[in-house]
């Protein structure tokens, strides 16, 4: 299947986005931002629809709308936007706005479908390059600020006590998240951003006790899901996003089950070691 250009492009873009989402997802979960990521995806959708309407590249509209909203959310403070009422109002408003922009433009149906459900196999070479540069940039920044970001995400009270610049970290992270969400939309669509942004990291959390390893496992699950999704979709003609979401769900529940089994086995092991010590 890799003899086709469109499949090569899909693999290239899908892989780097999966790696990026795997890394950032670990922090999204720790900072309890998964619903904010979802909100970004709806805001990004309206941005992309706007771009379609005025004839820009959709990536431009996505990035514009989502990064602007990242600064807005960061400025007001994340706490307000973590409230479910705020989220549902903002989310549905922007979904409606996107709908309006699309209905005003000529290429209604295909554009809307691609933005809502993803269109990884329809990606052009120029888009692939955009995605690769952006993702590589996001990954580089995340790795450079790994230590303070880890501190602030997993132990916010401690990070403030150690006088890290927590506000700057918070806003900076939201901007990175906005960029990451915009790219994930191009692969899996606005409605399915959860699947790359949170499922791999959530699965990884159940399999390790180290943040570094959690990042690696999360990246692995993300990449496996995208590769598997592309391959299965190529041979069956069912949508890519369907297979990616299904595979990620399998990983997540598999990890959950594995954790549960391990917890059940452990008390018995402890009992036997106590017995031998006595």
């Amino acid at each position: 299947m890799l003899q086709y250009d469109f499949m090569q492009h899909a693999f290239e873009a899908g892989t780097i986005v999966a790696v990026m989402c795997g890394v950032i997802g670990v922090f999204v979960i720790a900072r309890h931002l998964s619903f904010i990521a979802h909100t970004f995806s709806h805001i990004g959708f309206s941005g992309a629809s706007f771009a379609v309407l005025v004839g820009w590249n959709p990536i431009g509209g996505l990035l514009l709308f989502s990064t602007l909203s990242a600064f807005a959310i960061g400025g007001f403070g994340v706490k307000i936007f973590r409230r479910e009422v705020t989220i549902s109002v903002v989310l549905s408003f922007f979904l409606g706005l996107g709908l309006l922009f699309i209905s005003l433009s000529a290429k209604k149906a295909t554009a809307m479908y691609a933005l809502l459900f993803g269109s990884v196999v329809g990606i052009s070479l120029q888009n692939v390059l955009d995605i690769v540069y952006l993702s590589a940039g996001v990954i580089a920044v995340l790795l450079f600020f790994y230590k303070p970001l880890k501190f602030d995400s997993f132990d916010p009270a401690g990070a403030q006590a150690a006088r890290l610049p927590v506000r700057l970290l918070s806003i900076g992270f939201l901007v990175l998240l906005a960029i990451a969400v915009s790219e994930a939309i191009l692969i899996v669509g606005a409605l399915l951003v959860f699947t790359l942004m949170t499922a791999p990291a959530a699965a990884a959390r159940h399999l390790t006790h180290s943040v570094g390893r959690m990042v690696l496992i999360s990246v692995l699950f993300g990449v496996l899901g995208v590769w598997g999704g592309l391959a299965l979709s190529y041979y069956t003609n069912a949508p890519v996003s369907f297979f990616i979401t299904s595979l990620e769900a399998v990983f997540y529940f598999g990890a959950l089950g594995w954790d549960w089994l391990r917890d059940r086995r452990k008390p018995q092991e402890e009992r036997t070691t106590e017995g031998s010590a006595a």
Binding site: F144, Y146, F151, F154, D155, A162, R205, T208, H209, M214
Partner: protein, 279 residues
Amino acid sequence: MSVTAPAAALNRTTEGGPGSLPAALEVQAVSVHLGGKTVLSDISFEVKPGEFLGILGPNGAGKTTLFRVLLQLIKPQQGQVRMNGGRTLGKAVIGYVPQSRQIDPELPMRARDFVCLGLPHPLRPWLNRADKEAVRRALELTDASHLADQSIGRLSGGERQRIFLAQALVRDPKILLLDEPTSNLDPGAQEAMAEVVHSICRTRGISVLLISHDVNLINRYADRILYLTPGQYAIGTVEEIMQASVLRKLYGSAVDVIRLDGKLFVTTSSQPDSKVCFH
């Protein structure tokens, strides 16, 4: 306002504390207003290197706010805070263990990695030999070496507090601020925690400011106490402060101190006043 208690002298040399050294911490006439309310008014005191200062007072007296001022998280409207004889020092000089800390039971981190978060270099994610040694020492000092490889979310309250303390210690601070580190612990764990803090204070010469509601615990370990009530404060030894006359001035109402079996109890003779902190 400072309550002038009999013999509650400010610059009193405490036994064991080297009196001639410059103060580790000087608070000069600090006032703080938050949300249109006066939280701290005209507070002055100093802490010697290696001194253990216990801080007592009812909820809402401004104890946590005082710590936030010392950390420069809040800028006081009046007065100033000087450290180590006025020399400005790096951020590592204060170790702070905040009052409330949510720890997710599923936090994927071992206690050792949690302590590593506190290392002072801002960006370098890997550990060099000096870092590993600092982490090992901090765990040893807090009597937590045996917890190093356990998952932080699975530790008990007392074990967690010792790991929090180790995270603050790994920066090699000169001053430790501990905000109610014993509040959610059972009596045995409270004693163990105070014991650990006391020995760190003595062996490393770190000045400790510890907030607690247990006057008897503080009595056993602290060199002096700072008693804060809304709008008032007093500083001195436990004997000097825990007197009915001083507490009456602090609270502005009738308060009695009862001594029983070497333990102190605070009661009110009038109708129960929710503002009084019963020890």
